[in-house]
Amino acid sequence: MSIELANITKSFGQVQALRGVSAVFHEERIYGLLGRNGAGKSTLLNILTGRIFPDSGTVTVDNERGTENDSAQSKIFLMSETTLHPDFMRVSKAFHWAGIFYPGFDEGYAKGLAQEFGLSLKAKISGLSTGYRSIFKLILALSVNVPYVLLDEPVLGLDANHRELFYKRLLEKYTAKPFTVVLSTHLIEEVANLIEDVIIIKEGEVLRQESRDELLSGGYTVSGGSAAVETYIQGKNVLGVDALGGLRTAYVLGVPERDSQSAKDLEFGPMDLQKLFIQLTNS
């Protein structure tokens, strides 16, 4: 059971947003969909949920055609940056309609979450701040109980307290009944420990798709004095180097050579997802 994207391409005028993207979202996994601004993350999620059409390529949901197929699409819920609910609609009414369209929607749970986040059920969607709009959509996403939940910039405008509460509730929900979560976010440090798999998109192409552990185990950081680090990284596959005064940190692919002569006085550490992402997508 999975969502499969095969050779998806999409252009907007002269801009090619996606170039032959193929990716798989397996069931009951938490994915981080990472990419810089304009990389094509939102376009990919919009195509996956039939909000826009690809120029070519196919979307398959649990071995069914994904595009324009109610049965396949009803297994997916996308919380997007754009709010598609009418501005005049009240939160309670939006919950009511979610219950009609998604038989698994847990209205009691949604109302409970609304209370926890301090979201008024009587509030009009047009009157909500950016943060509360995000909260409103997050509550829907956590309450629909579908196998695939896609979250595009889920914590946009949320304060630290609300972000923490959201991650907590998401994990609780996932632990109680696992489902597939795709988190598309720029706050990589915040989700680094949450995600199990990573898909990195760069300029409309999938750069990496692997598990977080695999991705991070493929490299390491080495820190120390400039000269020592420079000597050590000679001939190695270096993703990039950060410099701070006389100190340097290099991001290196491969296995650390701690016993080598050049490794003296150097510190080795695990690869950091955000750093790795920056180094991979910087050029």
Binding site: I52, N69, D70, H85, I100
Partner: protein, 246 residues
């Protein structure tokens, strides 16, 4: 398939507008009724609702112009395919037109009834009776009134919906060209026709004949309106099937 939820959603969009519309119509009649004790024979006040269907046709058209964007986006948010939305829309169209046709007939009957009680103040005739000179007060006449109104609303609402979907699909330049260009083109053509009697001599009789052929009797009107509805709805589907979220 999510046809029924989508149907409910799209119908819900129309219900408040329809209720308000008839509240306004009935309030006007009641207000007139309440003013009767204060009227003197010299006031010469007469309340007529002849052909209320014309007003309802405009109302149905405006309603359908407002029916697409919000419900389309909300349906998409709830993972409803365009095909399902379109089928549900056809159901909504039929239901709303039936309710309006029935509402119009009841309103016309109400006013006609009041006209019998207060003949100097109230009068009401259906549009169908005015056009086809049929006795609208007979039960058979009522059925014909309803049928006439229903098919009128159907064609007009389909046109309104087609235009709003077209408007959604067009980009900015397309919108300007269409919404400004169409009236200008019509104005220019009308001016050209009026300035050239020889052309007018061909066009005007053709249009008169066409209208006669399409609407000169109730069965012709039903067939014509059904065909128009099919054409408008078919074009709507062509536009809707590839509509994306903007």
């Amino acid at each position: 398939m999510k046809i029924y939820p989508s149907f409910r959603l799209q119908l819900q969009d129309h219900i408040p507008a329809v209720i308000i519309y008839y509240i306004v119509l009935i309030s006007m009649a009641l207000l007139s009724l309440a003013l009767i004790p204060f009227m003197t024979p010299n006031d010469n006040i007469h309340v007529t609702t002849n052909g209320v269907t014309v007003v309802t046709i405009i109302f149905a058209y405006v309603c359908s112009l407002c029916a697409f964007k919000d419900s389309f986006l909300l349906n998409i948010q709830h993972s409803v395919s365009r095909r399902t939305q379109f089928i549900a829309r056809l159901g909504t169209l039929g239901t709303v037109c039936a309710v309006l046709a029935l509402g119009d007939e009841l309103y016309t009957l109400l006013l006609t009834g009041l006209g019998r009680l207060f003949p100097t103040v109230f009068s009401g005739e259906s549009l169908y009776r005015m056009i086809y000179s049929y006795d609208g007060m007979s039960p058979k006449g009522s059925v014909f009134n309803i049928i006439f109104s229903f098919f009128s609303f159907l064609a007009v609402s389909s046109l309104g919906y087609l235009l709003t979907v077209l408007n959604y699909r067009l980009n900015k330049i397309g919108k300007v060209l269409f919404w400004a260009g169409t009236p200008i083109a019509v104005g220019l053509i009308a001016s050209y026709i009026s300035a050239h009697p020889s052309v007018a001599g061909i066009i005007i009789p053709f249009l008169t004949g066409l209208i006669w052929a399409l609407f000169s009797s109730l069965p012709r009107m039903i067939i014509s309106c059904t065909l128009l509805t099919v054409v408008f709805s078919g074009l709507t589907w062509l536009l809707m099937r590839r509509a994306g979220v903007k």
